[in-house]
Point group: C3
Chain length 142, copies 3
């Protein structure tokens, strides 16, 4: 697949919780990391999503929030990926931050330069990537 | 209307599927393209949305994913607009990509420079713009 | 809390409307401004959200749409914060716009330079910040 989403995480569906309109789909990646996505029941049927099926989670870099001390915090976002900063590319307003989870997953986030400074981000800094489940798009091969 | 959303698509409501909390509203644009939005039932009532009523879909450029070979792919995103790249404006980290659908609709996306390279985007490249229905805001004249 | 979300609004929960899967949670901030968020019922339980409890709304700057003449408009977005532009930081493609509400709340948005021009934004311009409830993440101390 070729898409502009900087985060494309292939995995296997490990849970589908069906609601009246929406479903919560959990994907387990090769790295062991898990991604939860909220999609419509229509998409579950159209994509043929079920336990054991393959799918790829698409998450654009500007949708990712980075957090440095989430130990003492809980958020309503279903996706918390813990890792360490491995790359910083600075622009005029934004910085692209790449982090790696312990399982080896690479996550890209675009945050403002001010946030890089206020979080004190540098290569090696421990961070969590936070993504709301309703922001995650799932893709499958037709 | 004056809003900073780079994509403002006026159209007519062609379908409202009501759920207990949310509704799926389909807008058909002058170009023939269709946009699906998930909004709360409260908004459906407050905006007076019904088949035949006018509304404008607001979609910020960073919410758009571009895909170059979606033929063999299905995604959970309800909005797939097919077209060709008509403009590229490059910044330090991001590029603003403009595409036109065959119906003449102009769609703006902001993606990273790395994605422009990995997708091989240039003027004339065929692309699909992918937008999740829950990301679309609807607006009406009061 | 240290997060890269440029908008972190602490407040008190003033309403929780429970649905079968999702809940609509209203936060009232110290400034008097109110923020509505859609989160899963699972998060309501896990974060212990109830009337009177404390929580912080996290909103990344690219999720905010700015509007200059919303008087004659209604949108499906549940959050409309009115204020005036207090700062503009221009990049190659995007500008970071800071606005202040009358209650003193500071809101950061990232919009394109073209939008800054087409809206005629300058220090002091009256604007509304529009945010969809499903884009808001809630956080609490564990």
């Amino acid at each position: 697949m070729k898409s502009s989403a900087r985060n494309q995480f292939p995995g296997k569906v490990t849970s589908v919780i069906a609601g009246p309109v929406n479903a919560e789909v959990e994907l387990t990646l090769g790295s062991g990391d898990r991604i939860v996505s909220i999609v419509t029941m229509g998409s579950v049927k159209e994509l043929g999503l079920h336990e054991g099926s393959e799918a790829t989670a698409l998450i654009k870099a500007p949708w990712v929030i980075l957090m440095t001390d989430d130990a003492g915090l809980k958020t309503s976002a279903r996706n918390h990926l813990r890792g360490a900063v491995s790359r910083l590319v600075k622009g005029a307003i934004n910085t692209e931050v790449t982090m790696q989870t312990s399982g080896g997953l690479t996550v890209n986030a675009i945050i403002t330069n001010e946030s890089v400074d206020s979080l004190g981000l540098d290569i090696g800094t421990s961070v969590s990537a936070i993504v709301k489940a309703s922001h995650v798009i799932l893709a499958t091969k037709a």
